[in-house]
Symmetry: C2
Subunit: 472 residues, 2 copies
């Protein structure tokens, strides 16, 4: 009997059920509040150790309406998709509980065990590290994660295999492993030791204790109230604002040169994006009227709409607000999307949400690292990310605002909010400067483009994309 | 020049843009109102007829934030999935506009053109009929659908192929068709004649007229205010209430027999569901406390949670309310889900929503046919649907309610709402009777199970499933 099992006492069944239901309802009621959270339960383990049975028993003790169980066949990790992409849409909203039978660890184990060319140890450890970082980001964003490994000694497993009705064997045959093989059993145990150190290990030998330990673990997780810091770092020092933001340069371009160049570059960029073996993600941020729309228009000029997708990002919907901030981007980016353009993006977190004080300093300060990890995961899954900040001067913005107001079919582009944002000009410059400082990475640097001269800005954007795609 | 093209006048560009934007905002503002609607634009046509360009031009005239474009590679129709399953999640919410480049007609054409063993004409026409019925259901549920075919004569197509820069050819090579083949061109034209009679045909010859006609068609669709009937059929006659609902039978079963039978049947049912080549969908409806939860528990007893999914259906979320009622079921059922169990279901439309008057009589009366089409589409995609109504007597319900109130860990199962629903007992019986009358089809009949005796009810449910799966 393991140490974990000795530490808990059996609770009378009805009493345990009552406590679980109370805790479920308490969780549900946190919805919309400061301490709101959801719970993800990752379930893995040795075959026949009883993880299925334990989940079914749990379902009988709780109110099953508020416990979702999701199970998939394991899918080998794919070098063109991040490990979280297949699961992102199942991350529960505040107040909800989700049991993930199939999860990133299932995929990792399956990759290590099955594939003709298994990943090596350092790659395995690298994945585990990334997974833990992702889970930590979930936790920081009010999605609690608990990980449970159902274990079973070799001899017991063999005995259960002897006892089982062959007609019930179907589902573990599906998993494609031979549980009669000692070699394979040992390999799994060796592999799982590399990641289960922060897991709860449940011994599958004793059915009653197994189900109780599982349920009590969930109960404790439901009751657990994480402490989310509201204050930011005391040592936070704002970045200095680059000159390129304070005084965007003006380099007019001759109209004939512009037209020739533009024509050449739009073709070249279209072809470069199309031919690149990687997925291409292009992000546009910048002050209102800085020319994001016009730049995007030129960028896709020589593409067919079937080749790209443009996401125009505004305020999140309610169901998005009930999940981690990055969730709506996790679920938007699909591995099969070749070219994806963002007219505003996840950087809204450290721009408008910071400035309008929709989140605490602790939250936006934590977001930089989360965003970097998010982008890095994508980059490792063969995506190139190109980020533009379109820098306009305050005077030029005023002129464009006025011009828009005087053009009937452009009036929709200018609202009171735009004038209000303008009053926070300095704040936006500071936020942009901090954003460059913390999220300009070697692999996904920020490109600041001066846009007072629209034409030269557009050429420059296209040239930058070519350069980032390695096309000269 | 086609007749359609002669009927419209060019509108000055800025004026057209202004009108489009105004219409977009008017659509957006209908959100939450009686006349709220969304717009789906299906775009298909001959390669190089300029559908991509027309959509890009439209994007420049409208406010691009409220126009989403979704394009996928065509995927051949699959006998295990309904034609709408790949697209259901892109059906827009009220106030939104969605252009679907890839759509069910793309898939239909691609199936007819590409597959080694193409579908025959009657199958082709059958699909077209189903697609039209689906679109009509969308329209009745406030999702307007317009279908636009971009046409191009053979000679012009050849000329455009001559003129095109080979580096830009990539994307139509993707579509896998040889547009230099007259035979193929003629085949496509012949096929599309079989479905485009209710489409807008746009001639791709003249670029300006093409883009204008496309934009003006969208404008007209945006302005179109469908008239949704609020009143139900004058000739609606309620079904007579079957005796099985009024006086559920009571057939006690001996405890030893019950245990033996249950053990045998749970194994048999598990194995039958597992082995069936089709997907299995099981629906439970019935009064509160009629024993849905207990029945489901026995049903899955011998299954592993990885083999099935249980959906417990409550009131819809806000983002679901902004879409057709069946949308949340379209998106829940995935072709790879082998066994899916619904604890309450889409029948809520003609039960609670009807009785609580959340919808008009016209709406619930129209729902029967929509539900039948929905189930029929699934059945044709190799799904077996088994529907249970658990019939309890009013006295037995009262006893179970009281027992629940006296059992701490079951108290969550009983709320004021349950007592209120009980007051509408007769209404529920009438709604159930009407539901049987209108949705008990040969392929998916309703099974009324008397549940005052829980044990015999459970056995009977299991036996019914075996029978429906063709296992004796």
């Amino acid at each position: 009997m393991s140490t974990e099992q000795q530490q808990f006492q059996l609770i009378e069944e009805n009493e345990l059920s009552l406590q679980l239901i109370d805790a479920q309802y308490a969780l549900k009621d946190t919805h919309g509040q400061k301490n709101a959270k959801s719970l993800v339960i990752l379930v893995n383990g040795i075959e026949l150790a009883g993880k299925g049975e334990a989940v079914k028993q749990l379902r009988e003790w709780v109110d099953p309406r508020y416990l979702r169980v999701k199970a998939d066949q394991p899918r080998p990790l794919n070098e063109r998709q991040t490990f979280w992409q297949p699961y992102a849409r199942f991350i529960p909203a505040e107040g909800q509980i989700m049991v993930l039978f199939g999860n990133w660890y299932t995929d990792l184990l399956s990759t290590a065990m099955h594939v003709a060319n298994p990943i090596d140890e350092s790659m395995f450890d690298h994945y585990v590290e990334q997974m833990r970082a992702f889970e930590q980001d979930l936790k920081n964003n009010h999605v609690d994660v608990i990980k449970i490994w159902f274990d079973l000694p070799w001899k017991s497993l063999q005995k259960r295999l002897d006892d089982i009705d062959p007609s019930e064997m179907h589902w573990h045959r599906l998993h494609g492993l031979d549980w009669r093989s000692r070699k394979q059993y040992d390999a799994i145990q060796r592999l799982r030791q590399r990641f289960t150190e922060d897991w709860i290990i449940i011994d599958g030998e004793d059915v009653t204790r197994r189900d109780q330990q599982f349920a009590q673990t969930i109960l404790a997780a439901l009751k657990h109230c994480p402490d989310y810091p509201a204050k930011g770092s005391k040592t936070w020092s704002p970045a200095s604002i680059p000159k390129a933001l304070l005084q965007p340069s003006r380099e007019p371009v001759d109209q004939n040169t512009y037209k020739d160049e533009l024509k050449k570059l739009t073709r070249k960029v279209a072809s470069a994006m199309r031919m690149d073996q990687r997925n291409v993600v292009i992000v546009f941020e910048g002050m209102d009227a800085a020319g994001k729309g016009g730049a995007i228009k030129r960028l896709v000029k020589k593409l067919d709409p079937r080749e790209y997708e443009i996401h125009t990002i505004g305020a999140p919907e309610k169901y998005e607000l009930r999940r981690p901030y990055l969730w709506r981007f996790w679920t938007k980016l699909q591995p099969e999307d070749k070219i994806t353009i963002f007219d505003r993006s996840w950087y809204g977190r450290v721009l408008v949400e910071r400035i309008e004080e929709l989140i605490s300093p602790a939250q936006w300060q934590a977001s930089y690292a989360e965003i970097n990890r998010f982008e890095n995961d994508l980059i490792e899954a063969q995506t190139v990310i190109i980020k533009f900040w379109l820098a306009i001067s305050k005077d030029e913005q005023a002129e464009r605002f006025k011009a828009r107001e005087q053009t009937p079919h452009k009036r929709f582009k200018i609202t009171d909010e735009d004038w209000r944002n303008r009053e926070r000009w300095e704040d936006y410059l500071q936020a942009a400067a901090d954003m460059f400082e913390h999220t300009s990475t070697d692999q996904a640097p920020w490109h600041v483009i001066a846009t007072d001269e629209k034409d030269s800005a557009r050429l420059q954007i296209l040239k930058t994309i070519l350069k980032q795609l390695g096309v000269s």
